[in-house]
């Protein structure tokens, strides 16, 4: 794909771009690149970082030499005896859970964020609506953990202090233990995630929507288009770059997501995701090699996604 050239009108010195980039490059180089290199090198060593990972191989079991920690990271949670057990264990593993999180939380937050951005634009209480949707983001995870305790709490027959179970028992049912029922619990956690992050998507999408020139919409209305057509045929194409940015960012956020799962279930009852697994290996099992290997797997998992994004950028640039 040919790289589009910036218009020849805008002259610049040879050094200029590097001067603009310098502060950013220095800061990121030190705070992100250096630790990342450190992380990769630790992932090739044993749990104390004192010897190569190849020394941790056990006899009689498969071994990947210096990549032994990666073997652990990728296969430990899977039961590979038959196809069925592999499939089953995948969905219960941290990888399966993370996949569920990505699919449901990203679509949930983006769609809801877009919906609110569009709806609130047309009502008079716009500020209030946006503030309410945004508020969960302002609450730290400590506060959020306490809040949702009051919703999901599992009491017993006599007393309920959790709202959902109070409603269920009020309607005559038995209380459900939301956070310890496998599969259901992951979705309850995802809902908390959506509750917290929709405000993020809404803010960015709202600012993009507002940048769409009013004249275009008016012209379409005069031509007889209804609101749905205006939205899907005119506004969506214009804000599509921003939508892509939001989706990418949310995928990255979900992949790094740690606090919600950690605070609410600690990764128990099959709610483990990649980030909590990394934390467990590092700070509970004191296995530095394995923890860093999981971190590297996480990083590698995102790269194709970033790649896709950049190609979109280049396509978009070509149209400028």
């Amino acid at each position: 794909m040919a790289k589009p050239k910036v218009s020849a009108v805008m002259k610049q010195g040879k050094l200029t771009p590097w001067l603009y980039l310098l502060p950013a490059l220095i800061v990121m180089g030190f705070f992100i690149v250096y630790p990342m290199i450190n992380t990769v090198s630790l992932s090739l060593k044993n749990k104390d970082g004192t010897a190569s990972a190849a020394t941790t191989c056990k006899e009689g079991e498969p071994c990947w030499g210096i990549f032994e920690n990666y073997r652990y990271a990728l296969t430990e949670e899977l039961n590979t005896t038959t196809f069925e057990t592999t499939w089953q264990s995948f969905w219960e593993s941290s990888y399966g859970n993370t996949l569920k999180w990505i699919v449901f939380m990203v679509s949930g937050t983006v769609i809801l964020g877009l919906l609110i951005a569009v709806l609130s634009d047309r009502v008079r209480y716009e500020s209030l609506a946006k503030a309410i949707i945004f508020m969960p983001m302002a609450i730290s995870f400590v506060g959020a953990g306490v809040i949702w305790k009051f919703i999901y709490d599992f009491g017993t027959s006599q007393v309920q202090i959790g709202l959902l179970n109070a409603i269920i028992t009020g309607l005559g049912g038995k209380p459900i233990s939301f956070l310890s029922t496998t599969t259901l619990n992951t979705f309850m956690l995802i809902f908390v995630g959506i509750w917290m992050w929709t405000g993020f998507c809404m803010t960015i999408l709202s600012s993009a929507l507002k940048a769409v020139p009013e004249e275009l919409q008016e012209a379409a209305r005069i031509d007889g288009a209804n609101e749905f057509q205006i939205f899907f045929k005119i506004m969506m194409p214009i804000i599509m770059p921003t939508v892509v940015v939001v989706i990418t960012t949310m995928v990255i956020n979900v992949l790094k997501l740690f606090d919600i799962v950690y605070v609410m279930t600690g990764g128990n009852y099959n709610t483990e995701v990649i980030a909590t697994r990394m934390y467990t290996e590092m700070y509970k099992n004191f296995q530095t090699g394995r923890g860093t290997a999981i971190a590297v797997v996480l990083i590698l998992a995102i790269i194709p996604f970033i790649f896709m994004n950049i190609r979109r950028f280049m396509a978009q640039e070509a149209m400028r």
């Binding site: 233990s177 950690y262 279930t265």
Partner: protein, 439 residues
Amino acid sequence: MRKNILLLISLLLVISVGLSACGGETEEVTEEVSEEVTEEVTNELGIDCMGAEAGDEVSILSQWSGTEEENLNAILAPLADACGIVFNLESTRDQALLDTRVQAGTPPDITFWNVTQLSQYEDLLVAMTDLGVNTDNYADYWKDIGTVNGKWLGLPVKADPKTLIWYSPANFEAAGYMVPTTWAELDALVEQMVADGYVPWSLGMESEDATGWTGTDFIQDILLVTQGPDYVSGIIDGSIPYNDPGVKEAYEIYGKWAMSETYTVGGAAGTVSIGFNDAILKVFSDPPEAMMVKQSGFAGGTITGTYADLVYGTDFDFFGVPEAQGLQGGSDWMMSFSDSAAVKALVAYLSSDVGGEKWAEVGFDLTPNMAGADAYTDAALLKKGQILSSATGFVPDIGDSIPSGFGSAEFTGITDYVNGGDLDAILDSLAEKQAEALE
């Protein structure tokens, strides 16, 4: 307009930088003031400052916050007044913070943490014997637990026996129950309660990422009854594998109670999702949801925290798990990365008679320091203290003592078991983990 905003932002930036610089200065000023003041205070209690000078700082990292931090402050106050040492307390429950500080080469001077950390940081800790500790005030079994490879690395400062069962004497009396003195009597009492229509146990073990610890505590207490403390020590040092039949039997005894609605509040789902604090409260609510809860000493504080009018002795009390040979308990250990004079003063103080008595007086759980055995002001603590001092053995928690994440695996294991998992598979994988952790 735009210019004004830019101006505002630059102003904010400059002010922040300036203020943060000034913040440093004011701290120095207050230090000087406290120096002058403390020089006037006389050292009435005969505390040995071990060469520490007024103004010396000791950085402390612990897991204690809230009311616990107040207790620690009260205990350290005499030392701070006598020698002018400044204690900089930080607290967190996040293991990641302690590990990060240690690995980066900037550990706190002292940390109050768990027994596993003694082995984890073995190479970096300074031995207690090099810090002026008073060895006479500690029973041998404490020194054994705190010794790694021949060096006494951890000073036990706080103990909380777990082998206790809490109940309401008022409810027992009303129903005509007696406190059981043998395990058989306990079993019979449980069946009697069920026959009378009560729920005997409140076994909730939810505790965020440590969910399961009340269960593993109970298992360990059952082992103390059925097998004895040497068996438990055997599990800790690895000579007895975790999937030994004795352990399986203990799990099955526990499981019979924990997974059934007749025996415990909410059955299996209740055990797994009711918080451990809520579980304690269920025995003392009005009307009570259960008759007994097996829990450590801190339960007393939980009860009075919510039901302020309940009186110890009449409304709530405890008895030791019958026929338990030895005591299981949680313990907090002080370990030091530094050998400064101020640290030596702290070690000397805490292990001295004065320190032991102060700890007991403040009532921050039990102190292993024998000098404090009679100084408790709280009746419940006094009773627990007596149980502790008459104990033939003290066994630390299995999960706290086996390094490398065995503890968390144990929690997850028992939670899975109560949730319907296969016991043999769980015990086998735990035995593997145990072997791996101890090699």
